[in-house]
């Protein structure tokens, strides 16, 4: 993640135009920073920094951004996918599970492959998909009926189709797969129901299963005793957001979901490992190397399925390989990604269920802050301080950028879906595709993009929105931050100051992360809003 000059970026882009459609090797994915014209995995690289080394769009000229094209999906589901950009072709998902190849310059389609999930497919929160993975000439997609598909990137032909888990048993897949070497690694969602979450690796060529890790330990395995009775069998703990990979340790990292049932822990006494955790798995074997649990014995639905962001930073004066994690539970963390050691943590929004950490980094609970029959006001909201939207880290500024809710709360009632707390009961509802009238007063939850210093986890600046946000964040080497929110605006901020540089009203809610690529010397930024994908670039001929 070194600095890239504009000249380098442009040269690389031209080179790419010459070498169209080369095989996407794992080395290319791993070192995607060397080819900034492309976007080869969900958050750019396996480090998930969602940082583009492209430099054409800067803080000085971002005001000249203008729409280049729109691609409208034939779907009324939320558009949560981040597209891949591979040598002039964009690959994305039309929810729930159609795969589309678009010309990156015009947005016109090369091909569309439709996939009809099994009728029994059930998802908790929309028939959505967050994106594809690519290796060689093959695309990979998880489906809401819990299958993993391999497709020919040239034609969209389905090459193989593996059932990862049974949709009849309420498993689904919504995350983008993780490619490591010759493997495709994917997790199963559905953890608000009685599943037992899994992460499985498949041979990229054949679809043969290579290993499987259960997010709830079975009898005889360490951690099984953190579940009372037989609750481990149906304890949830889905995995539904992108993982990360560190080649130096050969470890993959996945966030895990809440234990089930969600808002009543009486039937599953104990810490409920490895719910609400990050698990570090050996990429070759799936063996658990370490874990860190963010919310032991969760009764507030604080999934830890945020996107792990890996960075090599100076931490308190020493170089350190860290993992940055703004959690749904309202706490932000710096972990040593080699050992799992808790390095630092603090509340980054108003939090009232915990008031600090013990020496090992276990959150200290505030007594009484649990669901009750009468209802307890708990901060943050059940949907969290942040949820699944991908954050960003800029190696240029050294800051960690997160779009999240502030000032949210919930009335936690034993065994019930928590009620929103506030004048407008819809204040923290999940994203939809259409814009809605907004009526909150200033005492209620709102959205922010904040830039955090990883050393202190203090915000350097804040950009405040009226409504909350389910949008992700992109940073670029032009020191521009891109994000958007439920109000349907897509905007550019100065990465060092948070100053608004530019905005566009897209007419639909932003429920996805932005990405950037270039083709023929022109840098593009895309964002999905409503049911469409929008591409922006600087006005005029910028070659």
């Amino acid at each position: 993640m070194t600095r890239r000059t504009g000249l380098f970026a442009l040269t690389a882009a031209v080179a790419a135009a010459v070498s169209l459609n080369a095989q996407v090797t794992f080395d290319r994915i791993l070192r995607a920073d060397r080819e900034p014209q492309n976007w080869l995995s969900y958050s750019g690289t396996p480090f998930n920094q969602r940082y583009s080394p492209l430099t054409q769009i800067t803080t000085a000229n971002a005001k000249n951004l203008e729409l280049q094209w729109i691609w409208q999906a034939r779907s009324l589901e939320k558009f949560e996918a981040t597209a891949l950009a591979v040598d002039g072709v964009l690959y994305t998902v039309q929810a729930p599970n159609d795969v589309v190849a678009l010309d990156a310059e015009s947005g016109r389609p090369f091909w569309t492959t439709t996939y009809a999930p099994a009728p029994e497919a059930r998802t908790c929160c929309g028939r959505v998909n967050r994106g594809l993975a690519i290796l060689g000439d093959t695309l990979y997609m998880g489906t809401i009926d819990a299958h993993l598909l391999a497709l020919d990137a040239k034609t969209g032909e389905i090459l193989w189709n593996k059932e990862v888990a049974s949709a009849k048993d309420r498993y689904s897949i919504t995350m983008s797969p993780l490619i490591v070497k010759d493997k495709v690694i994917i997790g199963t969602a559905g953890g608000d129901g009685p599943i037992r979450g899994q992460i499985a690796a498949f041979d990229a060529k054949t679809g043969k299963e290579l290993w499987r890790f259960y997010t709830i330990p079975g009898p005889g395995e360490p951690g099984n005793d953190t579940w009372s009775g037989d609750s481990w069998k149906t304890g949830g703990v889905g995995v539904w957001n992108a993982g990360a990979y560190d080649p130096e340790t050969n470890l993959t990292f996945f966030g895990t979901g809440n234990p089930a049932p969600d808002w009543d822990g009486r039937s599953r006494l104990g810490d409920n490992l490895y719910s609400d955790s990050v698990v570090a798995l050996d990429a070759d074997t799936g063996t658990l190397k370490w874990h860190y649990q963010f919310t032991p014995h969760d009764e507030l639905d604080y999934d830890s399925t945020q996107v792990p962001v890996l960075a090599d930073i100076q931490f308190r004066g020493k170089p350190r390989k860290v993992m940055l994690w703004a959690n749904r539970n309202g706490l932000m963390y710096v972990l040593d990604r080699v050992t799992g050691e808790f390095l630092h943590g603090r509340a980054y929004v108003k939090v009232n269920w915990a008031d600090g950490f013990d020496s090992k980094g276990r959150p200290q609970r505030v007594p009484g802050m649990v669901p009750t029959k009468a209802g307890t006001v708990i901060r943050p909201h059940v949907h969290g301080a942040t949820n699944w939207a991908p954050p960003s880290f800029s190696p240029r500024t050294g800051l960690y950028y997160v779009a999240h809710f502030e000032n949210s709360s919930t009335v936690a009632v034993e065994g019930e879906f928590p009620r929103a707390n506030g004048i407008n009961p819809r204040q923290t509802t999940m994203g939809q595709i259409n814009l809605q009238n907004f009526l909150n007063n200033e005492d209620e939850a709102y959205g922010v993009v904040r830039a955090y210093d990883p050393n202190t986890l203090e915000p350097k600046w804040e950009y405040k929105m009226a409504d909350i946000t389910w949008g992700g964040v992109l940073t670029t080497a032009g020191d521009v931050v891109f994000s958007g929110g439920k109000e349907g605006y897509f905007f550019a901020l100065d990465a060092r100051t948070g100053a608004l540089l530019w905005k566009a009203a897209l007419g639909g809610q932003v429920n996805a992360g932005p990405m950037s690529y270039s083709i023929n010397g022109k840098q593009y930024v895309t964002i999905a809003a409503g049911n469409s994908l929008y591409a922006f670039a600087l006005r005029g001929d910028v070659k």
């Binding site: 169209l20 009728p119 193989w160």
Partner: protein, 268 residues
Amino acid sequence: MQDAKGKMQMRHRAVGGFFLFALFAFGILHFELRASAQHETASDIEDGGRVFRQSCANCHGPDGNEIPGIDLGRGVFKTAKTDEDLVRIIQKGVPGTPMPATNMSDEQAKRVVAYLRSTAATKTSATAVGDAARGKALFEGKGGCLKCHRANSVGSRIGPDLTRIGQLRRSADLERSLVDPAAEVLPTGRFYRVVTKDGAIVTGRLLNIDTFTVQMIDTKEQLRSFTKVNLKEHGFIPSPMPSYKATLNTQELADVVSYLVSLKGRAN
């Protein structure tokens, strides 16, 4: 009948949804079709054919003759006597048989009927009985088909993928394509040529075209997109598919057709 029903149920599970309105029980009486339906345009017939291939062919086969006693392509039904009968059966199904009801509008059902009428006069394969195994060997060997086509992930992507061709086209159509490839080229098999302003010539199979741009997969299997204002020339070119009339004898043609008909898609 039990076998046919079991087969149909299996396919229903595989395909799912409402597309399963196979035109199963169209009559016991052999019924002489009118020459062609009135008031239907070529695009109506093409649209009807598309629906037939996507939906009805799953059970009836591309030639419409895979259910014993029924040969849709030749107007051999069980009970239907009129176009109205056919429309009603398509929409409401046949109770007590695997032929399900559909939610097709009158217009959609009429288009399927129009397609059936249009094909009634066309003979199915006139060739000898083919052998699919021999056809596969010819397809991959003497015929050189894999130089342009792909089947089950083997072969080139330049020409149309034939993995499901047996579900999509009738044997008579396949035979005609082998003997006289230019007679009918499906929209997905059209070839295009562009000349860029610097003189580079690119040809390939057309994937999409609009007022301003062209998308194709070129002869090097690259996905390519061009802006028309940047082109010196552009336009359709004849299909590079050669005629096998002189290359393959009657039996060999039947073998290849038999193999192509056997390509029903991969069991994913």
